[in-house]
Amino acid sequence: MSDYQNPRSPESSHREVGHREQHGTLETFPDPGLPEHKSRMADRDPQAAKRGERQVALLFGISVIGTIASMVVYFALPPDGTTSGVRLSTLSLGLGIAFALLGIGFGAVHWAKVLMSDHEKVDERHPVASDAETRAVAVQELEAGVKDSGIARRGVLKGAVISALALFPLTIAVPLVSSVGGDWNVSKFKHTLWRSGTRLAIDPSGRPIRAADVTIGSVVHVIPDVSEEERQSHEWITEKSKAVVLLVRLDPRDIVSTQAPQGEDWAYDGIVAYSKICTHVGCPVALYEQQTHHLLCPCHQSTFDVADSCKVVFGPAKRPLPQLPITVDDEGYLVAQSDFHEPVGPSFWERLK
């Protein structure tokens, strides 16, 4: 064993962690102490130190050049609004700033690594917990304070303080919470802009659609036909979020089913319209595959079969996309028969209420 009993370094002489008596012998190795310090080139050779100094100075010099360069390109290359002009401006300014910063960074680190002392130092640690005496005093102080305030004895006072403190946040919370939710009328989820007779129009141009214009295999992204001014308003965006519809014309022979109840026809000569808002979490479902009649959501890949009531064939959605009942008016334009017969978009607690 004596081979392994190396002289301990002073730093580790107090070490005790890990010692374990077993079968009466010392069962751990002793800490060998800090490894021997290896001197660097710059410590041994003044020439190398000089070289290090020059390198550091050079790096800081590069930084200065980078700063100057970035100032020059800032004035010389303003973004002119074209793709290539903005790209050039961004690139040159970015490179200038990068050199200005990296010069300082690498210079400072190189300085520390090559020229500053690399002798490791040792600091003692002390237990995080304060010592017993301090803690005793602290407890004593607290107890004295509690006694002085009399909070333990005076029950009414205690109750009053707690009630006051617990209640006062309401003065801020109630006005805040009651105002941030607007009118809190969540039944709006259940209605859209579609009415009986509303024409179907092309998004975003707003042209109404004639049934004859839609050829088999066509897909049209549809909005309700409203005035130009209405489409410029902010309410429109909120309404559009619920009202967008995907219109598809299939070969009528391919249609397996629609959501129309017995005796009604919600399609028109192979033209069907379904809500574009996914029943999963509300992304616009829009990837229509003409050959398979599948409609895929690019967000989470829920796949719906347009030929078969838009039932889910794959992915995380559960319910089919709601169908918009359509027909044509006297002029041959496609119109809605009514609003959707169920709320569009993602499920929520009171959806069926």
Binding site: G81, K121, I223, C283
Partner: protein, 583 residues
């Protein structure tokens, strides 16, 4: 740096300035305390610094951006570059983003640096957490700082998400729409919570200004406060250090704050900023004019959030739809959204929050730890960490399944199914493999300590036996491999006391013991001096093994390995140096 009151007047200029300051702030004592404070040196200790510095860069570039950004959803008709946006109706928020990108000098650069810095901020937080987890730096007394770090990570996610949505473009708008869908799925209060967030129906005209306040005031304020607390704890506890000769739980070995760390850490700030500037100048990020102003109808392929939210996206993509159901009374419970968007991240975060406390409980460990673990020496922790990362990465990949499909010419449906299976199988497999690798590495360490390095020198004995000469480890090498505690499963008091009365709390203890067995049943004990001495005298070697003294992997199903390798090897260790064989 004197605390002079006048009788020892300083003469140097620095001295005078310091004296002036000190007489008004007593800064002297702080300088005395901190200037020569020792920090250990290791590259992995700089990961947290990357996060800190990218946060500073985020604030600097963020200030620039707030000067030009208009957090409003009022609609305007935009006129200006780029050509694809000229004359379009859009919100002020989007229009101001275009103006600052195409017309403000350096504006696009600042936006890109800001966005890259955000990605790097979270990437650095995650790698920093990995370092802390795998080295056991979260152990006493640092459990609370682990929690502070967790909160910082969650706030980082909040900062990233709120900022990502500000330009009001189609991509982030669809992200908000998904958020709305997730919020609505919460039973009872979902619809009202949605109104709470959006000030009415989605998208309304309040969400951008609200997110702006969250992004530039609320979240950064909290982050700053928690960073201060995080660093306060670092100073209070003093930094952890990697194991090695002379490094103990009672000291800290390293370089002084001033000047070495001021130069290194200060320099590193400029390096981080410089690299971010390089990225911002050369690599395009979130060029929102490609996506266009928010409109509820369009969506683009590759609709994904930034990388740190990809795991949620993947979780949503993997969940089959069948889980949605309607309760009695016709209430809808969309479990197909609740499970992936609320339960899965909830479980992942709970694991991270709880882990330090669980490990402390099953270890019954009340000591302070300042020397880090080598990951191999705590196989179950390392395995759990890798399993966690595997789950996270599988979810993130599932969130990118459409890009995997196009780039590797696979079916998106097949990929989704593969990930559905992998999400359950992958982490178990990763845990098992990692644990085996750790145990293997520990046995390798034992082997090295007992028998030394292979030298490749073959020596032939007079009686014809060949052996390879092994060179023993020097004491620093050996110390690294033997200086660790191999925790054993908890011992608990018996179920009944001496009089046969059933003890209270036995059931709880039993559960804890079961958990403790999971952690520490398979273990490799460090080599003891006795074992080493025995190994060196070749004759005793087998006797030692036979006596079962080297308790390698006590417990079920793992009793092979180290023992086999140390006894089956014909090559003996050398006790008197490499030149002379042992026999």
């Amino acid at each position: 740096m004197t605390t002079s009151t006048g009788n020892t007047a300083p003469t140097t200029r620095t001295g005078k300035a310091a004296d002036y300051l000190d007489q008004r702030t007593s800064v002297g004592s702080a300088v005395k305390e901190f200037a020569r404070k020792v920090f250990p040196d290791h590259w992995s200790f700089l990961l947290g610094e990357i996060a800190l510095y990218s946060f500073v860069v985020l604030i600097l570039t963020g200030i620039f951006l707030t000067m030009f950004f208009v957090p409003s959803m009022s609609l305007v008709t935009y006129h200006g570059p780029p050509a694809s946006m000229d004359g379009q109706l859009m919100s002020d928020a989007f229009a101001s983003t275009l103006t600052m990108s195409f017309e403000v000098r350096g504006g696009l650069l600042m936006r890109q640096i800001h966005h890259w810095a955000a990605l790097i901020f979270l990437a650095a937080i995650v790698t920093h957490m990995m370092r802390v987890f795998f080295t056991g730096a979260f152990r006493k007394p640092r459990e609370l700082n682990w929690l502070v770090g967790m909160l910082l990570m969650i706030l980082g996610l909040a900062a990233g998400f709120s900022g990502y949505s500000l330009p009001d473009d189609v991509l982030s708008g669809n992200g908000l729409r998904i958020t709305d869908g997730v919020v609505k799925s919460i039973p009872l209060i979902g619809s009202y919570l949605s109104y709470f967030l959006f000030g009415g129906e989605f998208p309304g005209e309040h969400i951008i200004p609200r997110l702006f306040t969250v992004h530039i005031l609320l979240v950064p304020g909290l982050i700053l406060a928690l960073i201060a607390l995080h660093l306060f704890f670092v100073v209070l506890h003093k930094h952890t250090q990697y194991p090695g000769g002379g490094r103990t739980d009672k000291n800290v070995v390293g370089f002084p704050l001033f000047p070495v760390y001021v130069a290194k850490a200060g320099g590193f700030f400029f390096v981080v900023f410089g690299i971010l500037a390089l990225m911002g100048g050369t690599m395009a990020i979130n060029n929102v004019w490609n996506y266009g102003p928010y409109d509820p109808s369009p969506v683009s392929a590759g609709a994904q959030p930034d990388w740190y939210m990809l795991f949620l996206e993947g979780s949503l993509r993997l969940m089959p739809g069948g889980a949605e159901f309607v309760t009695w009374g016709d209430f809808t419970v969309p479990l197909n959204v609740l499970i992936p968007a609320v339960v899965v991240p909830g479980l992942l975060f709970t694991f991270l929050f709880a882990y330090p406390f669980v490990e402390a409980a099953v270890t019954k460990d009340k000591r302070e730890h300042h020397v880090l673990d080598r990951p191999r020496n705590v196989p179950v922790r390392t395995g759990l960490g890798v399993a966690f990362l595997t789950a996270f990465i599988i979810l993130a990949l599932a969130g990118s399944n459409d890009l995997i499909a196009t780039h590797f010419h696979m079916s998106i449906n097949a990929i989704t199914w593969a990930f559905r299976v992998l999400f359950f199988v992958g982490p178990w497999f990763a845990f098992w493999v990692t644990k085996r690798i750790c145990l293997g590495l520990q046995r390798k360490d034992r082997e090295l300590v007992l028998h030394g390095h292979e030298t490749g020198r073959i020596v032939r004995f007079a009686h014809g036996e060949y052996i390879e000469v092994h060179r023993p480890l020097d004491e620093q090498e050996r110390w690294l491999r033997v200086n660790y505690p191999a925790h054993a499963p908890l011992e608990i008091e018996p179920a009944t006391d001496a009089r046969g009365v059933r003890r209270k709390g036995y059931k709880k203890d039993k559960q804890l013991q079961r958990l403790s067995r999971f952690f520490y049943e398979d273990r490799v004990e460090p080599v003891t001096p006795t074992e080493l001495a025995a190994a060196h005298s070749h004759g005793e070697h087998d006797a030692l093994e036979g006596a079962g003294h080297a308790r390698i992997e006590a417990g079920a199903g793992a009793g092979v390995g180290g023992r086999a390798s140390s006894s089956s090897r014909r090559t003996g260790p050398t006790s008197a140096g490499p030149e002379v064989p042992a026999q």
